[in-house]
Amino acid sequence: MRGFAAVYMREVLLRKAAFAAGLASGLVAVLLGGILRRYGFMDVANLAAATFSVLLGGFGALAVGASVIPNDLSSGKIGFDFARPVSGWAIWAGRFLGGFSVVLSMAVLPLAPVTLLGEGLLRDFTVINPAYLHGIGDYLLTPAGLYGSAVLALLALYAASICLWSILRIPSRWLALDALMAGVLFVAGILSLSSPVTLHFPGARYVYLFVLGIVFLGALVGTFLLVVRGRTDARRARTAVSLSLGASLFSALLLLGAGWAYVETRGPKHLQRLTMGERSPDGRWWLLSGSHVGKDWLGLPTYLLDAREGGHRRLSWSTTGWGDAAISPDGKFVAFIENRWSQEGAHWLLTCRTLSGERKWEILGPADGWDEPSRGAVTFSPFGKRLLFLTGGEGQVLDADDGSSLASFRVGADADLWLSGRFESEDRVRLYSRIRDRSRRRPGWPSTPLLDTAHVDLWRFDVPSRTLTRTGTLDTAFYFFWPVPTGDSIVVRSGPKDARGLDLHDGSTGVKKVHLLEGQERVWPLVLADGRIVCTARSRGEASDVLRVFSPEGSLLKSIPLPPRLKFSPVDELAGGNILLGSGPEKGRISEGDAYVADPACATAEPIHGLRIHQGYPLAEGRRMSPEREGLLESVLLLDKDNRLVRYDVRSRERHPLVRLPAPSKTGSG
């Protein structure tokens, strides 16, 4: 052990200049960020400094590794150690680990100044809320995980290189060069297949596959040279082995990069628990995210899906699918909230970007223990000039152009409070604060204000006067309510399971106005853009659901019987006044059966054979709030039997496959 420590230390000491160089390069990255800040490039300073330090780290690791291996192992200096009382394992282990430590340090040290001096500039890189990571695969897919994996892969490559040098006497400088080029190709592979590239250049993946094929062919040619020529010409044989090995490594790393990009392109496994969020007015861009399934509460990435071309891009790693991302009414911007962690604690980060991905502005909140990102929400005003941003019991109205705060309010700071809201107009905000009663918690379920709501306080906030007024209370036990956008009403589902009711309450006072349904086995409503209320319900003892349409005032307009032995739920409003329904078997999930298109005018409901709705449900509480921005759907996103996301054109009935998702999880309920 004494010998090992001495050899290890010697290897490290030999390259002490590398450590200083690593730290110095990190300081250069900090300086770069500082200069950018100084000259007003606030929005790119952090990212530039972090990216630069990561690039320096990666390059440093590659360069030092490429130097360590040939210099150490080709120079025949092993005898110096072997002529001393050091065991063989200590020599090899000391030299290996010493060299690896230097390479690893070169990968990490340039990041240290940015992390320590740059006030968490690397948060994009390192700070991922562990609560949102569900397995080793998720960790590997974080930027830090990917970087760490790349560095470890590099070390493994060097280890293989050393072993091969020892066994076959292959010139290690070839291998070092191979490693360098493989690293470059790895990054190129990711870039060529990543979503932003393929979104705009769909042919990139074919170019990539072509290059991959060429490289693989190179490996075969190298092997051929080895076999045919190697017996007569040792030098040529060594070269052939080097080239062959290098080409094989290229192929392996290219495949690795492609695998990563493949996952990115096709979507991670969490998309199987899909929630369709908002969409742009032209129907092209959709917000997708994970959702809660049964007893599992998931904080999952938010994606922006291009329903026209099929590509998608991740907006954030953390979301809950409960309103933390919104597309502006003009369809140009997307605002989203995600959680960030620093040494000080939890922050929220509100970002506004163009749909093409350019950052417009961002606001990092204070580290004040905001540890439940699911309690944040963003909503644009009807004309998109303002943004309502809610965290816990507080809220702000922001200027959507630059993110500046126009007004703020505080309903409360209680952990048992859940605030949601919507703009009634550009100057008026309607707010709903759920108050949790922890005694209502059901065994095996998490306790949240959403699930264990005792009552809901109704608030109104006037932006110009900055006046917050509590207007009323809903005090019945229920889970869901749906504001009616055209009037001051709220649709409330009440009652226990198998005895559901549906009522229309006054949106200001919370007082019940009209009783719509009662004693139903199940009830699922949907409020349409014109204020009409649609619901599927089944009376006790009946064999089929009925689709009912109510006026905004609560009078029954139409009843449409639905096919028997299936259960239904309204999902969305379609062009032509039609309603999209999801169906499922009595004991199954609502997403397991064919989707249906119901036509209230003709009192019919026709199945869309082979296509089903996703597992999520349309969200409540004002997520779809104003007729101005509510484009009626010409096409919807459904899933086919292969779990492929398909754009279904309602009028032409054409199907356009977009993205294939992983098979649905067997856990949870739909």
Partner: protein, 305 residues
């Protein structure tokens, strides 16, 4: 040889054969180095000296035979035995980027005993700067630095593989003087391979000659020098041949002034018998240096004594 006898020898090779593929570097070599003696292993380039040294340092396993250090197998107990061995290799092979001071620090961690001050004093005497990277030192300084590293832990056996290769005459002299001074202090055993035969002659107690991997001789230097003489004489045809034979001539050759012979078993009475033989005139015997003996035995005319 018994275990006890082996243990008295600092170093012992028993029938060691080393091959590199089909090439034989050493064939059945057996020799021993008693504790406290300086033994020089001499041979021409490629004679197998370095191969034998690598075997006795446990850096290479012999195909046949065994190498023992203080009676223990050098291959099996290399780590333990090298605690008592100081090594100066043929080519200074210390990491070139490390300074001499760092090298001393590194080596000090490998040995239980370490005379750091002694090593630094020795380097100061040689004029070797401590803060300079090893790779930047001159050849002589490198040689002295390697010797200082080899002696700092006060080894019981010093193995020197042609340590003065490439050094100038002054540096060679200083190297061997330092070695003699250290040996005078402690009386450690030395196993030395060198082409600097005058330097070897000044310190060696015992010499062994290798030729093409085979051991020609292994005996005390004094005895070797006592039995080898260079004879010059004139004679008629092959006169005195019978009287010359007991002197064991290595070779006899004609010169411009008569004939010359190197004999391997010089003895005063036998020489006078030869000198007074009929037909032999002007016979003279002169002492030979180690270098002359080496050339006589391993050169073109050489052969087994």
């Amino acid at each position: 040889m018994t275990e006890a006898a082996s243990a008295e020898n600092a170093l012992e090779l028993r029938g060691v054969t080393v091959r590199y593929g089909k090439a034989v570097a050493a064939k059945g070599v057996s020799l021993s180095v008693p504790a406290g003696e300086v033994t020089a292993l001499l041979g021409r380039n490629g004679a197998g000296k370095t191969s034998l040294i690598r075997v006795l340092l446990g850096m290479r396993k012999a195909q046949e035979g065994e190498a023992l250090l203080w009676g223990k197998d050098a291959w099996k107990h290399r780590h333990e035995l090298l605690e008592r061995v100081g090594v100066v290799p043929e080519t200074p092979d210390a990491p070139e980027d490390l300074s001499v001071r760092d090298l001393l620090a590194f080596c000090s961690r490998l040995y239980r005993t370490w005379d750091g001050k002694g090593a630094e004093d020795r380097l100061e005497r040689f004029g070797v700067p401590l803060g300079v990277p090893f790779g930047s030192l001159s050849k002589g300084q490198k040689g002295h630095a390697m010797l200082a590293l080899a002696l700092a832990h006060r080894p019981d056996l010093l193995v020197l593989d042609d340590p003065t290769l490439g050094l100038d005459a002054v540096a060679r002299k200083a190297f061997f003087e330092e070695l003699v001074a250290d040996l005078a202090d402690r009386g450690a055993a030395v196993f030395l391979s060198s082409h600097d035969l005058s330097g070897v002659e000044s310190i060696a107690d015992r010499v062994a000659f290798l030729r093409e991997g085979r051991l020609l001789l292994d005996e005390p230097l004094e005895g070797l020098k006592a039995r080898f003489r260079r004879l010059s004489f004139r004679r008629e045809k092959e006169a005195g041949e019978a009287a010359l034979r007991p002197l064991e001539p290595v070779f006899v050759r004609r010169t411009a002034f008569g004939e010359e012979s190197v004999v391997a078993a010089y003895e005063e009475t036998a020489f006078h018998g030869f000198a007074s033989s009929p037909g032999v005139a002007a016979a003279e015997a002169s002492e030979m240096s180690l270098e002359e003996i080496f050339i006589a035995l391993t050169g073109e005319e050489g052969g087994a004594p």
